[in-house]
Amino acid sequence: MATNFLVHEKIWFDKFKYGDAERRFYEQMNG
């Protein structure tokens, strides 16, 4: 039942990837 609705949910599945990449980027930037 819930799955019919959840398929419309906007979830940032790639959050983990983007967060990791952003952290690495700024760690490099900040030496």
């Binding site: 039942m1 819930a2 799955t3 019919n4 609705f5 959840l6 398929v7 419309h8 949910e9 979830i11 940032w12 599945f13 790639d14 959050k15 983990f16």
Partner: protein, 198 residues
């Protein structure tokens, strides 16, 4: 005390936050989640709905006085009482901290792990592995912090995990969670970690 109507689809964990808060605050929240009052995918596209809730998102709350608000955290805040909102700037800041941490730190890995199992998104072995490790890290962090505290908003973002994949052996390491389920009633906890079945 807020009184009004909550528009949502059934079994929406985002709506549970507001409904649990209303239980504590005594706010009168009337839920519309099924026809004829509510058709998911239609109701939220009608001009009158979009005029009240321009993002067309659920859950959406309309107070009896006509005040309209969407985004589950904002609705939960509104139907809450002063105590649960945080009666000092420090308490309110910590509520905001864990609400934000729940949305940014927990919802993505929880969904990435469980949605493929429920057939909602494609399965990717590595992504599932990453999500599982991220969930373990976050639960460890939370467990250390949940001693003597109650974080209802957190538990709503953990529903999928506890219903689908976190079996007793997995959550034994995090003993401070068990008190939460008292508020949600009997939630059938996962006995066996669900695996993706192609």
């Amino acid at each position: 005390m807020a009184t009004g109507t909550l528009y949502t689809y059934p079994e929406n964990w985002r709506a549970f936050k507001a409904l649990i808060a209303a239980q504590y605050s005594g706010a009168q929240v009337h839920v519309l989640s099924a026809p004829p009052h509510f058709h998911f995918g239609q109701t939220n596209r009608t001009p009158e709905f979009l005029c009240k809730f321009p993002a067309g998102k659920f859950p959406a709350f309309e107070g009896d006085g006509g005040f309209c608000v969407f985004e589950s955290n904002a609705i939960t805040y509104y139907v809450n009482n002063e105590e649960l909102r945080g009666s000092t700037p420090e308490a309110a800041a910590l509520v905001a901290q864990w609400v934000s941490f729940a949305d940014s730190g927990r919802v993505p890995p929880a969904s990435a792990w469980v949605f493929p199992i429920m057939g909602i998104t494609h399965h990717n072995k590595q992504a599932t592995q990453n999500a599982k490790e991220e969930v373990r890290r976050i639960l460890g962090l939370l467990d250390a912090h949940l001693k003597m505290r109650t974080f209802l908003v957190v538990v709503c973002t953990l529903l999928w995990l506890y219903k689908q994949v976190i079996e007793p052996s997995f959550h034994q390491a995090f003993p401070n969670f068990s008190q939460f389920w008292a508020v949600l009633g009997e939630v059938k906890l996962c006995e066996k970690m669900a695996q993706f079945d192609a």
